[in-house]
């Protein structure tokens, strides 16, 4: 009897998840009247705007991930090592981006760093991109911090640090050769979430007027019928590819298997 309920729940969940996907995929293939075709996909992929914005967003995502790693791994490590009492507060701060709308952040940025301010970052393309990256990093903070902190929990940070110190290692060596490699798998799951956030983000990119993928999807969705569906399927494909990659990385990281 219990079995039947479990299977029922599973079936319901799968239907709930897959039916819209199937419907969307089906629709995206119907651009040509009366038969299935990949016309919508061809249109999307051939659009120079798609290539341009997608390329831009991927680059932004990569920089955001790198910046996030450099910012968050040392911070989370330091908090665990030296100020464990502060952890609840730091955690609270990292959760703020979930509560504060992105539009508030971006308006704050524009107010602070406009062309007539003390640091006119919005005056140049590079400066604006930098601002956008900071914004993305803020949005990704809750996920990234949590992922890294979880990774740090699996190792004995204090003792490993002391062991490395007694062998003569300084902070850079400890972070790069001991801490980072041990939290890499956790960092990657955070990185994947960051990637997904950056690819889909609309508000910041639009208000800072950067040619990102989010505004492009929005534009396409507002003006076309079949292409947005194709685009969504493509986005899903990318997401799943990322997840597969993480699985692979986890599988191949030799030292983390089945320890304690």
């Amino acid at each position: 009897m219990k079995r039947i309920w479990a299977w029922g729940a599973l079936t319901f969940g799968l239907l709930y998840f897959f039916l819209p996907l199937i419907g969307m995929t089906n629709f995206s293939l119907k651009m040509r009247r009366g038969e299935y075709s990949f016309d919508a996909y061809a249109r999307v992929l051939a659009d120079p705007k798609f290539q341009e914005t997608f390329g831009f967003s991927v680059m932004m995502a990569l920089f955001t991930i790198l910046f996030g790693i450099f910012l968050i791994v040392p911070t989370a490590y330091w908090v665990r090592l030296k100020m464990p009492g502060l952890r609840p507060y730091i955690e609270f701060v990292t959760l703020l981006p979930l509560v504060i709308p992105a539009i508030v952040i971006v308006f704050g940025y524009i107010r602070l760093y406009n062309t007539s301010s003390w640091l006119p970052l919005t005056g140049t393309t590079t400066g604006t991109n930098l601002l956008l990256m900071f914004g993305y990093a803020t949005l990704a903070l809750p996920y990234m911090y949590r992922a890294v902190d979880t990774g740090l929990r699996t190792i004995d940070v204090t003792t490993l640090t002391e062991a490395a110190q007694s062998l003569g290692a300084g902070w850079i060596t400890i972070l790069s050769r001991i801490i980072l490699p041990n939290v890499l798998v956790a960092v990657l799951s955070g990185a994947f979430l960051t990637f997904a956030i950056v690819i889909g983000e609309f508000t910041m990119a639009a208000l800072l007027n950067r040619p990102a993928f989010g505004p492009y999807m929005q534009l396409l969705g507002a003006n076309r019928a079949y292409e947005p569906a194709a685009l969504a399927v493509i986005a899903f494909g990318i997401t799943w590819a990322c997840m597969g990659l993480i699985q692979l990385v986890t599988r191949f990281s030799k030292h983390t298997r089945a320890q304690r």
């Binding site: 190792i155 004995d156 003792t159 490993l160 002391e162 062991a163 490395a164 110190q165 007694s166 062998l167 003569g168 290692a169 300084g170 060596t173 050769r177 001991i178 490699p181 041990n182 030799k254 030292h255 983390t256 298997r257 089945a258 320890q259 304690r260």
Partner: protein, 353 residues
Amino acid sequence: MAFLDIKNLEKVFGQNRVVKDFNLAIEKGEFISLLGPSGCGKTTVLRMVAGFETSSSGAILIDGKDVVSKRPNQRNIGMVFQAYALFPNLTVAQNVGFGLKVKGIAGSEADNRVAEMLKLIGLPDLGNRYPFQLSGGQQQRVALARALAPKPQVLLLDEPLSALDAKIRVSLREEIRMIQQQLGITTVFVTHDQEEALSISDRIVVMNGGRADQIGTPFDIYNRPSTRFVASFVGTLNLIEAKVIDPAANRISIGDQAITLKEPLGAAKVGDTISLALRPEAGSIVEGANGDTALVGQVMTSNFLGSVIRTRMKVGTAVISFDMFNSPGLTPPSVGETVTLRFTASDLLIIRE
């Protein structure tokens, strides 16, 4: 001059004085154990030597140089932890070679040193394994090799055997001692296990409440404990209350039986109560046993412990335990029996706090 010299070391955590006026001079190549119950400050002393904890006051000299102001990674000290603390992302060989790499030693020189270390710990073929593929005993050996590879001036071990099975604990402690003697490295070994400390140390520091109660060879510590604490912590010991009868003649009484001590009573007056210590193995009830002193008592319990039989007897209000070696021809004393315990007066120690 001592190679590792700890002078007037103090550590205060908030209101809590955890290490108090700790003094210890260790010769080059010596193996010293810090022995004491949990919480007595052993780890804190070790961590101050390693540099992980800053001392509140006092000096720590290694080879004549004060290291107090140096950071842990500048001290050239090898450390072995209870929890092994191997780097999980590195292979055994990379773990052992870590300190060399940090020092800028690379290539065949580093490879040779790593191979030499792995041979020293008896695991020459496990260089490519990861820590999680090793047993606890093997991991701790690797941790030892890792600490020794960069040729530290001093080796510190904080209860390195506590996480291991009893059997491995005994074999590994002997191995640690052998390697230590082979390399002639100055070593401080922290433990709460008296048997461990007695079996492998050149000298033992018995710690009590942040202080060094007594520093001496295992033989000294065991046979001539200088405080009540050392006497009760190291080995099993009878603490006997006695009354002074005649201080000038060293006469005291236990129960109603008067005996003469070897040790002078000093300033004690008639009627004073003093504490005496007697090891269970110091006396015998066998007919014709040696000894210039005898106490008569009633057997309370008699426990067969395998190689020895431990008997407790009552002398007045005092309870004294004594051991005898088991042998097939022996009849164990029965409860209620009156027996005569013979021992040498010099085995009866006066415990002055």
